[in-house]
């Protein structure tokens, strides 16, 4: 017989779509060898069925013709039904015809001839034929059903074992091993997995596990960047291979090639669908692995965060007490007459005080940062005068601002703002400190407080180094410090982050405007406000 190599591309419509349509090339059934095998498997039941009839006949013969004639129809049903349940419909038919022949020959007059005299007996024979046909058909059908059920049960059992194994998979390579093992167990040894490598190519399995045609086909599929399901027929062996990509939501992990084997189109379709079921399990597991990986990443990030917060918390607390003693002691020293009289001593003590104050600023930042991440901030909202807040912030940072000119402008009749005053004061203070830090001494820092429909806007404008567009994107990040200033200007990178977090916690927004490097920066805080109090009346 003559076979044409046939390769059928599956339509890449859906990853989980049925593949039955794709299976086109099934080898036509039968060559000589398989015919002989089929003959052997079907001839034996036929012979055994006839033998069964013979046994019944032999058992009936000694009973005498009269008694036997009554029993004949029922007795012959036994081997017929036995054959039907055991071997199927065809042996049962043979058995029933053999039974009729035997009954006619041995028990119905005239004996030892196939002639029938009595019309009643003709009816008996016909009745037997009908009953045996019906019952053998029923029995055969029952047998088929049982077989299908048993087979299905086996498949389900396999699938169950497989999914249990998948549940224990923690990495993609575990998964690949599980698939290979499972498919090899259920379908035979011919499974090949082409593992996707990080650089994008697919590592073929060791030689021998997949024929050349399959390898080429996988290579073509990868090269065309059209990862799809398809079925091909390996021409020399006339075996059907199912090729499918294994992928999760984030990545293609490889391509699997499975030898479905040969057989009728129906067999191929059945096997394909059971392989599909397995691959379905695989893709679910892959999704789970994806989620698991994401969760693991998140857990690690959280741990790092907690560690940092714990560090900040302890550090800040452990530093607070000694610092209070340093600052307090220095302040007492400063006021002592002997120190006041000695110029050098006074300067030294002043240096201690100043450094302690700076250290205190850093620690307060760490404390604020810890406050933000541990349990979040719960603002205690109350109506407050924005002027008060801004003034308090300026007073609090007097030391930092001493080298600059601070110019404040307040619009007349500012409405009150509904905020947690200490948080907003701290936010303004952080921004003022930044303005002073990143602008030259003796330059002006302009603080402007204006009102806009329903909002109060505090803008702090410096004449400093400005912010480059790429730095602007990173500003809100905790601990961000521009590489430009890392060496020259001290800081923890927490300031702006604290300010923006505090402002946001109060229902406000913060905006940064800079014309770029060297052009100064304006940071504006927008806060929710009451109606303007132009008439001096109390706002509602």
């Amino acid at each position: 017989m003559n076979y044409h190599p046939s390769v059928v591309e599956g339509s890449a419509k859906e990853q989980t779509g049925p593949l039955e349509n794709d299976v086109v090339a099934a080898p036509p059934p039968g060559n000589e060898r398989s015919l002989r095998g089929a003959f052997l498997t079907s001839a034996l039941p036929l012979l055994l069925s006839c033998a069964g009839i013979g046994v019944v006949t032999a058992a009936l013969l000694p009973m005498g013709q009269r008694a036997a004639a009554n029993l004949v129809p029922i007795a012959y049903l036994i081997p017929v039904i036995f054959a039907a349940t055991r071997w199927g419909l065809r042996p049962a038919l043979v058995a029933s015809i053999a039974g009729i022949a035997a009954a006619d020959f041995f028990f119905f007059p005239p004996l030892y001839s196939f002639h029938v005299d009595d019309p009643q007996e003709v009816i008996d024979i016909l009745l037997f034929l009908v009953i045996s046909l019906v019952s053998s058909d029923l029995a055969a059908r029952l047998r088929r059903e049982t077989e299908t059920l048993r087979q299905r049960e086996g498949e389900i059992q396999h699938l169950y074992e497989f999914s249990r194994r998948l549940a224990a998979c923690f990495t993609v390579s575990d998964l690949v091993a599980a698939i290979q093992d499972h498919l090899a167990r259920t379908l035979g040894p011919d499974v090949a997995f082409f593992v996707a490598m990080p650089d994008g190519h697919f590592e073929p399995p060791e030689l021998g596990s997949a024929p050349q045609t399959v390898r080429e086909s996988v290579a073509a599929m990868v090269a065309s960047a059209r990862i799809s399901a398809r079925t091909i027929v390996d021409q020399p062996m006339r075996e059907t291979w199912l090729i499918r990509a294994i992928f999760s939501q984030t990545a293609v992990h490889g391509v699997i090639a499975i030898n479905i084997g040969r057989g009728s189109r129906e067999t191929i379709a059945n096997k394909t669908s059971s392989v599909e079921a397995i691959l379905e399990e695989v893709s679910l597991t892959l999704q789970r692995l994806d989620i698991g990986k994401a969760m693991e990443d998140a857990r690690l990030r959280l741990q790092a965060q907690l560690l940092r917060d714990a560090f900040h918390g302890t550090l800040s607390h452990e530093l607070c007490s000694p610092l209070a003693a340093i600052k307090g002691s220095a302040s007492v020293l400063e006021s002592m007459p002997t120190v006041r009289a000695d110029n050098r001593a006074r300067m030294l003590v002043e240096a201690v005080s100043e450094e302690a104050a700076q250290l205190d600023g850093f620690i307060q930042n760490l404390l604020n940062a810890t406050r933000v991440t541990a349990g979040g901030i719960k603002p205690r909202l109350q109506w407050a005068d924005p002027e008060d807040i801004v003034n308090a912030a300026i007073t609090r940072r007097a030391k930092h601002l001493s080298a600059h000119r601070v110019q404040t402008t307040f619009a007349g009749d500012l409405p009150l703002v509904h905020v947690d005053t200490s948080l907003i004061e701290e936010a303004c203070g952080q921004l003022l400190e930044n303005a002073a830090k990143y602008s030259p001494s003796a330059s002006t820092i302009a603080v402007r407080v204006t009102a806009d429909s329903g909002h109060v806007i505090v803008s702090i404008c410096d004449q400093g180094v400005g912010i480059a567009p790429d730095e602007k994107l990173q500003l809100g990040r905790r601990s961000f410090r521009s590489p430009r200033h890392q060496a020259s200007i001290p800081g923890s990178g927490l300031g702006f982050w604290i300010a923006s977090t505090f402002v946001q916690a109060n229902g406000g927004t913060i905006a940064v405007l800079s014309q770029g490097h060297g052009h100064g920066t304006t940071v504006s805080i927008l806060l929710p406000a009451s109606r303007p109090t132009a008439s001096g009346q109390t706002p509602k």
Partner: protein, 237 residues
């Protein structure tokens, strides 16, 4: 001072803090006694009859708030609280529980002395003392109910005067929003901090050189107001 030295009781578990507090107070003519825990503090408060108590909140045996409450059950002695955490809610709670003022660590001695003196002045205020409170250019005559700024009389509305009066009687000390609201308004208006904010703004317009940068009536964020008795140099020009 002609009268005998004031006795101050320092309550803090940190010896280094007590050491500089002692030095600072002794330098300024106080007699100092110390206690390192709540039990000692309560004992010392009865035995040595201090005129002023500086109380740290974090004590090993009892929280400072508890100590304050016990003290207040039998004594009106001025108490200034030292605390590490600058939580507005806690400050307000402490002031309501009877503290005269608070100071957040780390602090300078000058600041603590100013508050201590203010607290003592209020506590020992006698009828023989002048009824005029002076704060920088401002003087408030509590008897004639007149206010003058640089010797020029200032006309205040009744509510404005009431506000200034309360601040003046606590000169140098913080007065909580609640306290002011309770004293100035009645009924539902008592709960409205907004009224107070606006009243303060109006008062500032009348008594401050630059109402936008007040130096007399100082806002204590989230807590209340303080009438400053010693003016600090202005920072913003």
């Amino acid at each position: 001072m002609n009268k005998p030295a004031n006795i101050v009781l320092l309550v803090d578990d940190e010896p280094k803090i007590r050491r500089f507090l002692r030095a600072g107070f002794e330098l300024n003519g106080f007699d100092v006694t110390e206690a390192e825990n709540a039990a000692d503090a309560l004992k010392a408060a009865t035995l040595s009859a201090p005129d002023l108590i500086i109380l740290d909140l974090a004590l090993p045996d009892l929280h400072g708030t508890e100590v304050l409450e016990r003290l207040r059950s039998w004594s009106n002695v001025p108490v200034i609280i030292l605390s590490v955490v600058a939580s507005e809610e806690e400050k307000v709670r402490l002031l309501q529980a009877g503290a005269d003022d608070y100071i957040v660590k780390p602090f300078g001695m000058a600041e603590l002395l100013a508050r201590s003196e203010a607290a003592l002045r209020r506590y020992f205020k006698t009828a023989t003392e002048s009824p005029v409170i002076v704060a920088g250019p401002l003087s408030v005559d509590l008897v004639s109910r007149t206010v003058s700024l640089n010797q020029t009389q200032v006309r205040l509305t009744r509510k404005e005067y009431r506000l200034l009066h309360i601040l003046a009687t606590h000169v140098g000390l913080v007065v909580t929003h609640d306290h002011l609201l309770r004293e100035i308004w009645t009924g539902n208006q008592r709960d409205n901090v907004q009224y107070l904010r606006i009243l303060v703004r109006k008062l500032r317009q009348k008594i401050e050189a630059d109402p936008n940068q007040p130096r007399l009536v100082i806002t204590e964020s989230g807590v209340g107001y303080r009438l400053q008795n010693r003016l600090q140099p202005s920072t913003a020009e």
